[in-house]
């Protein structure tokens, strides 16, 4: 995951209409889309809303002029745990249906149910739509902008300050992590190398974890001391300047939000 850090941030630094859009709007639109698809009860209506929201996602992704492969690559990295949970569904009954019809019987008495396959596909649609909007958000918004936007939207300054610092140092530790990995490789040490005794490998990994812990703690001490020197106190916070929204941004936000809310309500109420 840490290797993608730079790639994600590089995409976020590109230029396009979506990239230039105020981060508050992107944050709220992504949140609205995710809440809408999650809040819609498990039913076949999820397909309809999923298609509508995914079309919105594709339109925004196309406008951002990012390559489709960037999206697919990130999607593949996120999917495993969700796919494991979804794939398992087809073999079990769930409380959202009353009657189950067996469509296939496998050895060891394992049965595949039609309703469970449907439920699994509903979960998949919900999952992919939510993840897509997160990918869109983080591929088009710089991390620092996102934190400032969250602050402008009312996130308490304790969080904007800590998140701001954490995001800054994640890159420092990503570099450090890379150097540690290089150091391991130059010594021909691979934690997954099965020819080495297991206990030995675990010891080495344990020491590496301890080292990263100490080094990040020491970095924290240094940062904290230097902040104190510059007048840090209990009332300090991340500086977030005022940034009025442009008229076009307000119109876009109102229209997109209305689109998401209306399509959710209409699909929910439609018999």
């Amino acid at each position: 995951m840490i290797d993608d850090l730079y790639a994600i941030e590089k995409y976020a630094y590109r230029e396009s209409l979506v990239h230039r859009l105020d981060a508050r709007i992107k944050l709220l639109v992504a949140l609205a889309a995710i809440v809408a698809i999650v809040a819609l009860p498990y039913s076949t209506k999820v397909y309809e809303l999923g298609a509508v929201l995914f079309a919105l996602f594709i339109a925004l992704w196309a406008t951002s002029r990012l390559p489709p492969t960037a999206y697919l690559r990130r999607l593949v990295l996120i999917l495993p745990f969700g796919i494991f949970l979804i794939g398992f569904q087809v073999f079990v009954k769930n409380p959202y249906y009353d009657i189950f019809h067996t469509i296939a019987t496998l050895p060891f008495g394992i049965e595949v149910y039609a309703e469970s396959v449907q439920f699994a596909s509903i979960l998949l649609v919900k999952f992919v739509v939510s993840v897509s909007f997160i990918i869109l958000l983080s591929s088009t918004t710089k991390m620092q902008e996102m934190i400032e936007a969250a602050g402008r939207l009312g996130l308490p300054r304790e969080f904007t300050l800590t998140l701001g610092m954490m995001v800054r140092y994640i890159f420092v530790f990503a570099d450090m992590f890379g150097r540690i990995r290089t150091a391991m490789e130059t010594r021909c040490f691979d934690p997954l190398d099965r020819t080495l005794p297991y206990r030995y490998r675990l010891h080495q990994v344990g020491y590496t974890v301890g080292t990263i812990f100490i080094r990040s703690y020491e970095q924290g001490e240094r940062t904290y001391t230097s902040m104190l020197c510059r007048g840090y106190g209990a009332n300090a916070g991340l500086y977030i300047g005022k940034k009025p929204l442009r008229a076009g941004e307000v119109v876009f936000f109102a229209a997109t939000l209305a689109f998401i809310v209306l399509s959710t309500v209409l699909i929910y109420l439609h018999p």
Binding site: M1, I2, I8, I34, V35, I37, V38, A39, Y42, I78, F81, L85, F88, Q89, V92, N94, P95, K126, F127, S130, V131, I134, I135, L137, S138, M143, E158, L161, T162, L163, M165, M166, V167, Y169, I170, V172, F177, P191, L192, R194, Y198, L202, H203, V205, G206, Y207, T208, V209, G210, I212, F213, I214, S216, Y217, Q219, G220, E221, T223, Y224, G233
Partner: protein, 212 residues
Amino acid sequence: MHIPDAFIPMGQALIYWIIALIFIALALRWARRSMEEEKIPLVAVLAAGIFAIQALNIPIPWGTSGHMVGAALAAIVLGSPYAGVFVLTLVLLVQGVIFGDGGITVMGANIVNMGVIGGFVGYYGYTAVKNVIGNAYAAAFIAGWASLFISAILCAVELAIAGTFPLVPALIGLGLYHAVIGLIEGGITAGALYLIASARPDILEHPTGVSA
């Protein structure tokens, strides 16, 4: 163990968010008051370090690789369960919003599972076992193992309540898998604690019983 969006219905997800927010508020109060000085920046930088620790490939006996959570380690070293809550909340926020690992609506549940359970089981498991058997590293091992195992059990129960994964297979699957991964989390927690006690004993909040 990062539950994705849609696997817990909205209503239940909100309940976990409320529980998580209570613990986050307590953790903020801890970072402000309980350490000798207000050290929020320090914990923020440490959270970035834990993020890097989670990126490390960790060998699992049957050949695949796993990842550490690190909540127990943070809680043990900094001497408070809230250290685990604080650090993991930051890590999960970044993982959820930037990487899409763990959902937004279910983030409350993930914070409860990994941060709250990890921190509390890690810290109190460590102090309790250390008082009984007297060996700090064995205590760290058991606490690290238990923090992960109980997190996984809770995760299984939450998915079962949500109706998106039946209880028994979840308990067997997630529980058994993490019972094994937990041994490694425990082993590495103990190993890292040993290194920290040797190199920087002053970092440890409660160094008694930890000897290099």
